[in-house]
Assembly symmetry: C2
């Protein structure tokens, strides 16, 4: 393990994973203060490109693409997708259908986002059209727009712990939601992981859900 002390660990994670991945990485790096860390936080499309180019040791992704067959995929925690609106929104507290939701202006993530493609598939499966008002590249921007009452949106439950503007946000009860996704650790099949990468993989499998749970507790207490 001697080499590990000065090793390099390069992680790339889906943008929503920023709510727990840096905490996990911070905790892990305390054990090995001299390792060189790389952390890339990007949308799904960018992460998939990084996988193709073999730029990092490990990846954290929500949805696994069917186009990338040669991936090792290790699920390690749940990732529920929820619909949010301004707390004063007329639909708060009511159980509604997807068709009713479709009438509301929707604040979407950008092209290439996993959440965007999930919503697009769901609406299209029900022959519904998304009433897209804005398209934004981060969950925070989306939440600030929901707090500003510019529309409804779909975000990971993990994104909800964060803002003080979250006090202006409520979950909507929509048929079919929350959509249950999961968090996965991913790397190309056959890739030999460094000792450090294997250690971090194991650390995430054992403790990853704890870091997420810390967030989720905040979420539940704020939106209950």
């Amino acid at each position: 393990f001697r080499g590990m002390k000065r090793g390099r660990l390069r992680i790339a994670v889906n943008s929503t994973a920023k709510y727990f991945a840096p905490l996990a990485l911070g905790k892990f790096s305390k054990q090995y203060p001299e390792i060189e860390l790389g952390l890339k936080i990007s949308n799904r499309e960018t992460i998939l490109r990084r996988i193709d180019q073999n730029l990092d040791d490990l990846y954290i992704l929500g949805q696994i693409p069917t186009t990338h067959v040669d991936l090792e995929v290790i699920p390690f925690a749940p990732n529920p997708l929820v619909i949010i609106a301004n707390k004063q929104h007329k639909l708060v507290g009511k159980r509604i259908t997807l068709a009713r939701l479709a009438q509301e202006p929707f604040i979407m993530r950008e092209e290439g986002s996993g959440i965007r493609s999930t919503i697009e598939k769901l609406f299209s499966k029900h022959q519904l059209t998304i009433n897209e008002r804005l398209s934004l590249e981060t969950n925070e921007a989306i939440k600030h727009c929901v707090a500003g009452d510019l529309g409804v949106a779909c975000v990971s439950g993990h994104a909800l712990d964060v803002d003080s503007s979250d006090s202006h946000i409520a979950k909507l009860e929509v048929d079919g939601f929350p959509i249950q996704k999961q968090w996965n650790i991913v790397y190309p099949s056959g890739k030999t992981l460094s000792v450090l990468a294997r250690e971090f993989l194991q650390f995430l499998q054992e403790h990853g859900e704890t870091f997420i749970s810390l967030n989720m507790q905040n979420t539940l207490s704020k939106t209950a």
Copy 2:
């Protein structure tokens, strides 16, 4: 003003402005519920490119580039840059020099960010080298890494109201900080603004600082 009811308003703002711009836009759009909104939230480099391509009606920027001479620049609110660290960090509560700060691992914004270039200039002016540990594309990612105790960072005071992870974050007292910047409304000189754009410009001049102040109050109460 009849045409205004169904007009289009395209705004592009610096990523840190997302903490108040959507709230302002949401409030403004309540007066004109049928206007079509465009909101782009990007880093400084992307905003400057959008200005060159004349893609939006108005822009909100922190620092004004000296390379773009033909801009109308209307300052409307202060934007202080501060240094943050994990609340348990050994430097919390001490008055330190920039040279002392330079010894700490620094979590930087990406190339093209205004805050990054400010820090680079400041360190270089004092013949100091930045001990860059990570480079990340959003203030949230940076704050989560500071909360994870991966290093210190420089962010806009306006970015500090937001996370529940902010409860793990403290401001450091560093000589020369906070750096006093300001928020500006910007558009190309000689551009004819639409009625709607002029209305929003006036709205921001009158009320923009209020939306920012709401955030700053949270900041002060949390980090005092």
